[in-house]
């Protein structure tokens, strides 16, 4: 299935991942692989398990079983706070900008996990708004600025695998366009990206591959090349 990607070393491999919230069984054996430098999306209707997949990687769900390998290391037994140390940067759906911290304190909050993260100057060059607003309380920023901040926050740490959950949700088209440029730039810098995205028009030109989820299972993998031929099926499946 992924033979075309084999030459590139694997960044993330998930095998038979099950996740539970209390008694509810949410993920029913997810299998996916992401090569270093690749950008993949998780597509699916609401409740199909896309966000839970990202949260499961970080251990933010009740209970998990299966295997999660990051850079060849099994991490499923690791506590959440160690996951950043494996080079994972998480941008949650709710953005989670802290209101009692200024924008800059939000930016500088996560500890650096490896060298090679973007410098604060580079980040401000990429997101000039954040420089202007750096002393404002985090949640006084506009929705778009908060999203930029949530992205910027993980770029500084040296994370190489970005888990982005619905980053375009509720944002104006001009901001969405800017985010597209940012993702393109990050891809060119060699970041590995896993995106949960509702906005298919945003994700399609950026992603190398798409995983389609339904009821907590992956029902299809579509490469960027195959996409035009599968569009009708995809529209039907996603209900868009």
């Amino acid at each position: 299935m992924t033979s075309a990607f084999q030459p590139r070393p694997e960044m993330l491999r998930i095998h038979d991942l099950h996740a539970f919230y209390g008694e509810s069984h949410i993920l029913h054996g997810i299998d996916l692989q992401v090569a270093r430098g690749e950008c993949v999306t998780l597509l699916g209707r609401n409740g199909s398990g896309r966000t839970t997949t990202l949260k499961s990687i970080l251990g933010l769900v009740g209970r998990r079983s299966g295997s999660i390998m990051v850079n060849g290391k099994e991490v499923i037994a690791e506590p959440t706070h160690r996951m950043a140390g494996y080079g994972i940067g998480y941008v949650p759906e709710e953005r989670a900008i802290f209101s009692t911290l200024t924008a800059e304190e939000n930016l500088l909050l996560p500890p650096q996990v490896s060298s090679g993260g973007m410098s604060v100057d580079e980040i401000y060059a990429m997101f000039p708004n954040l420089l202007e607003r750096r002393n404002s309380p985090g949640t006084k920023l506009s929705g778009g600025e908060q999203q930029m901040l949530a992205m910027a926050r993980v770029l500084r740490t040296g994370a190489r695998l970005l888990l982005l959950d619905e980053i375009t949700e509720g944002l104006a088209p001009v901001i969405v366009k800017k985010l597209g440029e940012v993702i393109t730039e990050l891809k060119s810098r060699g970041f590995t990206i896993v995106m949960v995205e509702q906005n298919f028009r945003f994700a399609a030109p950026l992603a190398d591959r798409h995983y389609v989820l339904e009821h907590g299972e992956i029902i299809a993998t579509i490469t960027a090349d195959e996409l035009p031929a599968r569009m009708d099926w995809l529209h039907q499946t996603l209900g868009v």
Partner: protein, 293 residues
């Protein structure tokens, strides 16, 4: 000299008593506020931990000859370490449950701690002498200021504002504030929240013990000294706003002063004025004066 028909010396001395009580309220409610902020636990053992802080100082002095100044450091370390053990072995199991469970557990612990000290030392109270350096007093013209009492106010203020500075202006404080808002995401960003929680509980408890040592030479060292105080301190926390750092400091000092003034102008009301204010604040601003709804 008289102010509103009250001799200035009387007014001054009652305001001083109020300021001293307020200093204890501030240090204790500050500890409660940071514990509640991060742990979501209403630490009912706070009064007992304050009492144990005083007892550690008294035992250190009478059994081991360790003086006040060393006890001021030793006692918070010992009681803070005990807090760390409690957090790791017991409180940790309750974070996912309703606040009530933490309250019940810490209430039970408070009863056990108090019972133990009552059993060992009785309730008559043990005297603890004012350290030599701080004995005596100075005349301020309008009133007489015992040096030790002035020291208590200064030490409490330094500790309160030092804590405020740590929380508002340092990296550790940023972790703490962020952890109070959304511990899951803070963990996902790579910060060891369980360790932060342990530290916070230990620090909050150490603050209580520090207040206990400060209190030892003023009040007698008594197993019940904490339970008498803690109810008022809870009222202070409610008035200031749960989880607000500056709120608990300012409310603690302010309410101490109001209590002092009430003692001058309407002595019968001094024991209930804090609770009266609490009722009004809860009616008008349920989140507290400095709290966010």
């Amino acid at each position: 000299m008289e102010i509103f028909g009250v001799p200035s010396a009387l007014l001054g001395s009652q305001l001083l008593v109020g300021l001293i009580n307020g200093s204890f309220y501030a240090v204790l409610s500050l500890g409660l506020a940071i514990i509640f902020g991060l742990l979501n636990i209403i630490n009912f053992a706070h009064g007992a931990q304050y009492m144990m802080g005083a007892f550690v100082a008294w035992i250190a002095l009478t059994k081991f000859g360790i003086n006040y100044w060393a006890a001021l450091l030793l006692s918070p370390v010992v009681i803070g370490a005990l807090g760390v053990v409690l957090e790791r072995t017991m409180l940790r199991r309750l974070y996912k449950l309703d606040h009530l469970y933490g309250l019940l557990l810490t209430f039970g612990l408070a009863l056990i701690f108090e019972g133990f000290f009552r059993d060992q030392y009785g309730i008559s109270g043990q005297p603890y002498e004012v350290p030599e350096l701080l004995q005596g007093g100075v005349s301020l013209g309008f009133m007489f200021l015992p040096i030790y009492r002035g020291w208590v106010v200064v030490a409490a203020l330094v500790v309160c504002f030092g804590t405020w500075f740590m929380i508002e202006k340092t990296k550790l404080g940023a972790y703490l504030r962020a952890g109070t808002e959304n511990p899951q995401i803070v963990q996902a960003l790579g910060i060891n929240v369980p360790l932060l929680i342990t530290f916070t509980y230990g620090y909050g408890v150490a603050l209580a013990a520090f207040a206990g040592v400060l209190a030892a030479p003023i009040y007698q060292v008594n197993p019940l000294m904490g339970s008498n105080l803690i109810i008022v301190v809870f009222a202070v926390v409610v008035i200031g706003g749960m989880g607000s750092i500056m709120g608990s400091i300012l409310t603690g000092l302010g309410l101490g002063l109001i209590e002092g003034l009430t003692r001058v102008f309407y002595p019968e009301g001094s024991a209930v004025v804090v609770f009266f204010i609490m009722v009004i604040v809860l009616l008008v601003r349920p989140a507290g004066l400095f709290g966010r709804a």
